[in-house]
């Protein structure tokens, strides 16, 4: 067949099919246009988003820590809104007209046919005004949202964190398109870490409206609606009574207090002072308030439990003891001569006293410096790093809140960088032996470390959340966290634990906080502070032999460990072990000036 003929056949077949399509289009768009246009006009659906309330947070006994309360949110549907009402709305809501205009413009995640959230947490009289003028103020409406409510005022600010209105930047950066303008998103602490559990899943209600925006009724009798899934509740290991007590003890101080259950790593109480009021972030957050919090020189937003890095001072001596025992420098019974000072590299390193030949248990009890100067030197930098890492230093504990630092663990690499390769003095090891110098640890690392020693080597990842409520089965399900064993002979742990026991119950630096009801163990420490009073440390656990609580207290500029940290920690421990109604103040007295360590 000729190509021209074939072309003619193919093209005429083609054209016939296209004519068919064109005829159908003419039928739809010319003949049926009015009918279909009518269907289209009736056929408008308004989508009402239903944001479920965020999940609550409960303490270990089921008491509410973080709650919700209802609040009113004003919404405007841009396609229905009459711009003549702009100035009225602007003054009613106290939003400058240009900012209101901006809010009505489409941003990612809004639709001009659907209500856009304009202002959250408004007063009832504004809602009343809108309700009264509903017919006149077209497109203006309100909805009831749940916002955060903290039944006990300012507690656990750094642990719970806040959930606040999503920023425009975060809205653009999000993966997917779940969040819309005006939505709330977890920003810090547990609110951020468990955002996906807490927020639930939004639901949608579809309402048929005519072209003028008048609601005709629910689409498909509401059968097409997608119900929201409520946020999942968190159950924390925290003990609310203990938390409140700890908040009180730390009131007016700068520092950190964290206690955990050494058997599983659950955090029992968690205080960082100074703190801030989480409810400032629940509704509308005033940018000025936020700026002043950030600018505050006391840094109230700073999480001192997980973000400070101070040298641990003498609380470090258990670490050095374990390292010295396991690397074979000493045995639990071997003795080291400890005169009043140690001379190394032409420099004399001081001690509080002269102790003669003492073993590791005694060295811990009296907090001998010379003993640990020698241990630091004998251990060497590489072994030092190895053992520190085993006990979780130089790395994040992995606690389930986002703000955490790994501290500073000086290593060979670190000193090579600071001093030049192999050009640094061994004297640094003398200082590291007693927990001074470049070393920086967080209170949470210290709590986890002392817990691991109390458990003879069981290191549990510290964490807040123990259970998450499954909204389908309505039961709390366990959350798993890591546990590992720091494998060293039991007799080493026993020697160190014995030393910690004697610190309180023997003739040690914390004998002033000895309790007649519970056998407390621990170790005081003092971090040297070149700019003011020293920082007071205490790490410990109780009861001896059957640990149920491990603790770390840091009081900034409070002096020796025995002065502030030891009695505070002791009070927390006996309060927890004593349970409701127990009066820790009758057992433990605060000390005005503790002994040096």
């Amino acid at each position: 067949m000729e190509p021209e003929k074939k072309r003619a056949i193919v093209l005429s077949l083609c054209a016939m099919v296209f004519v068919l399509l064109g005829a159908r289009l003419a039928y739809l768009q010319l003949l049926s246009a009015d009918e279909l246009r009518g269907m289209s006009d009736k056929n408008s659906i308004k989508t009402i988003t239903i944001t479920p309330p965020r999940g609550l947070m409960y303490d270990r006994n089921g008491k509410v820590l973080v709650d919700n309360k209802p609040s009113y949110t004003v919404t405007i549907t841009p396609s229905q809104f009459d711009t003549n009402d702009l100035s009225e709305m602007s003054s009613l809501l106290d939003i400058p007209p240009d900012r209101l205009k901006q809010a009505l413009k489409e941003v990612k995640g809004t639709n001009r046919f659907n209500p856009t959230k304009i202002k959250r947490d408004v007063e009832f009289k504004i809602v009343a005004h809108i309700a009264e003028n509903h017919d006149r103020l077209k497109g203006v409406d309100y909805q009831i949202d749940a916002i955060r409510f903290y039944p006990d005022g300012i507690i656990g600010s750094h642990a719970f964190g806040y959930a606040s209105e999503i920023s425009e930047k975060a809205l653009k950066k999000q993966e997917g398109d779940y969040y819309k303008q005006g939505d709330v998103v977890g920003s810090t602490g547990l609110e951020k870490n468990y955002e996906k559990d807490l927020r639930g899943v939004k639901g949608y209600k579809f309402i048929t409206v005519d072209v003028n925006g008048r609601e005709i009724g629910p689409l498909n009798d509401g059968n097409s609606d997608i119900p929201p899934v409520n946020g999942q509740d968190l159950m924390l290991g925290m003990d609310k009574d203990l938390q409140l007590y700890a908040e009180k003890l730390m009131e007016g101080k700068e520092g950190a207090l964290v206690a955990l259950d050494p058997r599983n790593g659950q955090i029992l109480c968690f205080v960082s002072k100074p703190d801030f009021d989480l409810s400032l972030f629940t509704g509308k957050t005033d940018p000025k308030v936020y700026a002043s919090l950030i600018a505050n020189p006391d840094k109230p937003m700073f999480n001192r439990v997980t973000q400070t890095r101070y040298p641990p001072g003498s609380t470090w001596k258990m670490m050095m003891s374990m390292a010295a025992l396991d690397s074979g420098i000493i045995t639990p019974t071997s003795t080291v001569n400890c005169p009043g000072a140690f001379v190394y590299g032409g420099r004399a390193y001081e001690d509080h006293g002269s102790y003669g030949n003492i073993n590791v248990v005694r060295a811990l009890e009296v907090s001998s410096n010379v003993f640990y100067y020698k241990m630091g030197l004998a251990l060497g930098i590489d072994n030092f790093e190895k053992y520190c890492r085993m006990f979780g230093f130089g790395q994040k504990t992995g606690v389930d809140i986002p703000q955490e630092y790994s501290g500073l663990l000086p290593t060979r690499k670190y000193y090579d960088k600071v001093f030049g390769k192999d050009r640094w003095p061994n004297g640094v090891l003398v200082n590291l032996g007693i927990g001074q110098g470049e070393l920086g640890v967080t209170p949470l690392q210290m709590a986890a470390y002392v817990a691991a020693i109390s458990m003879n080597g069981l290191y549990c990842q510290p964490h807040f959340v123990s259970k998450i409520k499954n909204t389908v089965s309505n039961t709390f399900e366990d959350v798993k966290f890591e546990q590992r064993r720091i494998d060293m002979p039991l007799k080493y742990y026993e020697a160190v634990n014995k030393g910690m026991y004697l610190v309180v119950n023997g003739g040690g630096t914390a004998k002033s906080v000895k309790s007649s009801d519970y056998e407390l163990c621990g170790k005081t420490g003092t971090a040297q502070n070149s700019t003011g009073k020293n920082h007071s440390w205490f790490v410990g656990y109780a009861p001896y032999g059957d640990p149920r609580i491990a603790i770390c207290v840091l009081g900034e500029k409070e002096g020796y460990g025995a002065t502030f940290a030891a009695p505070t920690a002791a009070k927390i421990m006996v309060k927890y072990l004593g349970g409701p109604g127990y009066d820790p103040d009758s057992q433990i007295k605060m000390v005005s000036e503790g002994v040096a360590d």
Binding site: R7, L25, R37, N43, F113
Partner: protein
Amino acid sequence: MDKSFFERIDLMLIFLSVGVLSCGLLAVFSATYTGGGDYFSRQLWFGVLGITLMMIISFIPPRFISRASYVLYALSLVLLVLVLIFGKRIAGSKSWFAVGSFGIQPSEFAKITTILALANYMTSTEEGFRNLNRPLEFFKAALFVLVPVLLIMQQPDMGTSLVFLSMILPIFFWAELSPFVLMVIISPIAVVIGALMGTTFFIVALIAVGLILLMFKRNMIVIGIILLVNVVVGISADSLYSKLQPYQQRRIQAVFDPALDPLGSGYNVIQSKVAIGSGGLFGKGFLQGTQTQLKFIPEQWTDFIFCMIGEEFGFIGSITVLLLFLLLISRIVSNGSISKNRFLSIACIGIASVIFCHTVINVGMTIGLLPVIGIPLPLMSYGISSLLSFFVMIGIAMNTYRFKNQY
């Protein structure tokens, strides 16, 4: 550079393809205007990339294309096997590779390579063509299409399989297959469609087929056998129908009666008809279509993009788009018919038939003439793989124009 360098650029095809792309960009912009997504900018950038690709391909000497065709074909078969193993399942079909935030659809690539390999096979003899009326040659040639079709049916992607099958008839016709054999191939298709519509249609189809076959004045026994086969095929159509995916069955039912399932499979068809019809003669205006902007049609920027044209630009707009497509297809067919290079000539028919098939099935489905078969509208639907593959195809048609005088 000689003057003819520019003269030999097929400006008509550039104009038509850029025209269709622009309509598509407008539509994607409108369909994704509320609710966001960077579909528009992605479509724009990949459109630019596609045009570049098209221009480059138009300059490649034809013998390179024909020589590479088997290798590319083999490669695309490998990809079709791999996608079954490693592919990402989207909407029930395993037809995508996830590459970063993009999805890549090897079946789009296979469309081009199948056309080229088939064209190369048909023309790679001493005489320059194979006689398809010989049964062995016929089946060998058909195998080039059937192998990828079998693989694509495993995904399963029936729409794309259909597009592959539909290229057989025009290409074989172009390669001088006798009209009688063509009729024999077409007859069971007509009978099956009749059978699906009901007994009366089945019988009418059978009679029509019988009458047409008689006109060829062949051996009565042969005609009898063919008719018998047709009866068997028609009857087994029902059992075949039952083997379709349930969602495909519902879609076929919904064509005949969308009201059967207004919120399920018929929903898209009803909403899309309402959208297009409510556009009237001039349309509701750009970004003013309530059906489009309120998202009555899910994922409208992909397979239902034509609704947006119908709703916002009305009858004028939709007829313009259809005309652009018709001109595009006829230009490609014309390039094929004037080319002295038989390889490219056959390739052009394959390309034209793929574009035709996509356009008719897609538009037919949005206006309620054909079942909802998810295949994109060429150069208009959002989709990177499909966009690029259509530009490559048009590039080959431009190439045909440039080298039309080379054997």
